[in-house]
């Protein structure tokens, strides 16, 4: 489905049919984004819904310079971050306090995996990540955020972002190894 300029204008004018068309076009991809930041689908759909309200509220600020999908994704990701920040404020701070700077080790460690992992399992692993790890991992891997940007978005230090990413990777690696072992044993 091609979203043309007229549909964007209609969305700015608040026409419901155009809004629905925009939603139907981008919601599946954006739900995929939201699901990565949450533990379950219901929570992801809540975030998606609120994010699209923001999209419709602010679509007038889309100037057509980049892709509309990219702009909507930024809105969705920002909303997901705000949502998670509000929900996990206390929990995240507790976890961050536990991290010592000395734990920051080589970030360029190579971790190799076979290619046969199916997407559903990988998504499940991401959803099982501790909330702090998950957010940093998502922002870094999928949204291409640098540690400075992650630090600004989450209100943490760059080193903490690096640590969280490292721990997230290690956690995922261990889980994948566990799964591989279980599979081999079977």
């Amino acid at each position: 489905m091609v979203i043309d300029e007229k549909i964007v204008k209609d969305c700015i004018a608040g026409k419901r049919q155009a809004q629905k068309l925009l939603f139907d076009t981008f919601a599946p991809l954006m739900l995929g984004v939201c699901i990565r930041y949450c533990r379950d689908r219901d929570e992801a759909e809540d975030i998606l819904q609120e994010a699209f309200i923001k999209v419709f509220q602010n679509i007038h600020s889309f100037r057509g310079e980049g892709s509309l999908a990219g702009w909507i994704k930024r809105v969705v990701v920002n909303h997901a971050i705000n949502y998670i920040n509000k929900r996990n404020k206390i929990a995240r701070h507790e976890k961050i306090d536990e991290i010592r700077e000395t734990e920051i080790i080589d970030m360029n460690e190579v971790i190799e995996f076979p290619e046969e992992y199916n997407p559903a399992l990988l998504l499940k692993l991401i959803q099982e990540l501790p909330s702090g790890y998950r957010t940093v991992f998502n922002l870094h891997i999928f949204e291409d955020y640098g540690h400075k940007e992650i630090a600004e978005a989450l209100g943490i230090s760059e080193n903490t972002s690096k640590t969280q990413l490292f721990k997230a990777r290690r956690w995922l690696k261990n889980k994948i190894e566990e799964n591989r072992l279980k599979k081999n044993l079977k």
Binding site: F23, L31, I111, F113, L172
Partner: protein, 462 residues
């Protein structure tokens, strides 16, 4: 944006593994997500008065109704409680006046005992030109409202002390006198009386009969105002029309409402829950191996016994099959559940103590709260389904209607009554949109049957 670290290795690096596997993964949201989002957007629009999604006609009709309601409310509440709504009385009065011709008479009308709403009139100077006579109060029509007006108020005439007192007999020999009569209005000769009100007033009518001044007090009767609540059920016939074709469906509604009645006017709102039906349409494309022809296989031959020069062939028929694509249409019946909120203004045309006939009109909004679509019946023997298209008209989340209804009410007790309201709905915005036929025009006829309970009624209907 800075790039993530680029790990290298013989296998797949963890970052790439995740990025490539689930980076562009898509999930179809539940249908409830859009519904809920739509509702939130609607609430937000209502809060911010963004009515762009409401058709102009619906907006104008609602705005017009609100203006009418506001005007009526203003008229009802600021014209004062001393409404001029009059009721005819068969108790006219006969006044005996002292024979003090050509003198100033000061009149003062006393309020009817027990009539708290009546107020004493201001003193008025009225010059008499003829001798007094005994008169019977007539009935007359109010020029403004055409309502029959008379009075059973007592009239007290006060004579100034300075004026000479008449020697003619009076019912009361003092400075004041009071007289009442129960004569029949119909026996009066209206020609005897002056035909104009000599001192126009909201509270009284004054005119001269044979030189005598008569003053009639408009009786103050509280304007009937009360609330009523009603519940009922309404079978309804809906007519869908698009591109020259029409279908008819029967819908069923359960309604509850509340109304405020003031004089002959009323304003009604409420909630209705309805099952409505519409035709579903599926296009089924399937392929099957069908016999398209046949051929004859020669399985033997022999010379014709009667004519040996001829050969008779023995054959067997064989069907020829081919893969044939079929297109079939399947009609289904879908059910949709709506919640509707009307805002109706009413006017009572005819009223007796037990029976009431009125007309109501106004806008209504309906919200789609549930839909149950029937699945296509796919029965393809020896074939396989290629494509299934749902061509059913998709229902829109809200629609606006204009209602006109006749309100027939039979009051069987003081509070309880039977309501029978035939009605007509015209859909200002289409309730459904079809990919093939576009928007659908809809009208509906129905009859709402229910019971009504009146409460807070201040006066009994005459």
């Amino acid at each position: 944006m800075s790039q993530p670290s680029n790990n290298s290795g013989s296998g797949k690096n963890l970052d790439d593994l995740f990025r490539e596997s689930i980076g562009k993964q898509e999930f179809t949201p539940s249908p409830g997500v859009w519904k809920s989002l739509n509702l939130k957007l609607l609430i937000r629009e209502l809060k911010h008065f963004n009515f762009i999604n409401v058709s102009k006609l619906a907006f104008l009709s609602t705005a017009g109704s609100l203006i009418v309601v506001a005007t009526l409310s203003y008229w009802a509440f600021f014209s004062g409680n001393t409404s001029t709504s009059m009721v005819s009385h068969s108790v006219p009065e006969k006044v005996m006046v002292p024979p003090s011709a050509k003198q100033n008479i000061s009149e003062k009308v006393l309020p009817e005992p027990g009539d708290a709403s009546s107020k004493p009139l201001a003193r008025q100077e009225i010059r008499e030109v003829k001798p007094i006579q005994t008169a019977i109060a007539p009935a007359r029509r109010d020029q403004a409202g055409g309502t029959l007006i008379a009075s059973n108020a007592r009239i007290e005439k006060s004579l100034p002390v300075s004026e000479p007192v008449s020697s003619q007999p009076l019912q009361n020999t003092g400075e004041t006198e009071t007289a009442e009569t129960n004569a029949d209005i119909s026996s009066l000769d209206p020609l005897v009386f002056s035909t104009f009100d000599i001192s126009p007033s909201l509270d009284t009518i004054s005119f001269i009969r044979s030189g005598e001044v008569f003053k009639y007090v408009r009786e103050k009767i509280p304007v009937p105002s009360f609330f009523s609540a009603n519940i009922g059920v309404a079978p309804e016939m809906a007519l869908y029309h698009s591109n020259g074709t029409g279908t008819t469906e029967f819908n069923y509604w359960a309604n509850a409402g509340i109304a405020y009645h003031y004089s002959r006017f009323s304003i009604r709102t409420g909630l209705g829950l309805g099952y409505t039906y519409d035709e579903g349409s599926y296009r089924i494309q399937y392929r099957s191996n069908d016999s398209v022809s046949f051929y004859k296989e020669v399985i033997g031959y022999y010379p014709d016994p009667s004519d040996p020069s001829r050969i008779i062939y023995v054959t067997r028929n064989h069907a020829i099959y081919d893969s044939v694509t079929h297109i079939a249409d399947d009609r289904t019946r879908n059910r949709y559940t709506y919640l509707q909120i009307p805002l109706l203004l009413g006017y009572t045309v005819f009223e007796t103590p037990r029976f009431c006939l009125g007309i109501e009109a106004g806008p209504a909004i309906s919200f789609l709260i549930n839909e149950k679509k029937a699945q296509a019946d796919i029965n393809i023997p020896n074939g396989r389904l290629i494509k299934l298209d749902d061509n059913s008209a998709s229902r829109l989340p809200t629609n606006w209607q204009l209602w006109v209804r006749l309100s027939i009410e039979y009051q069987f007790t003081k509070h309880w009554g039977l309501l029978i309201d035939p009605y007509y709905k015209y859909f200002l915005t289409s309730p459904a949109q079809s990919p093939e036929t576009g928007n659908r025009t809809t009208q509906a006829f129905g009859i709402d049957v229910g019971i009504q309970y009146q409460f807070g009624r201040k006066s009994i209907k005459k």
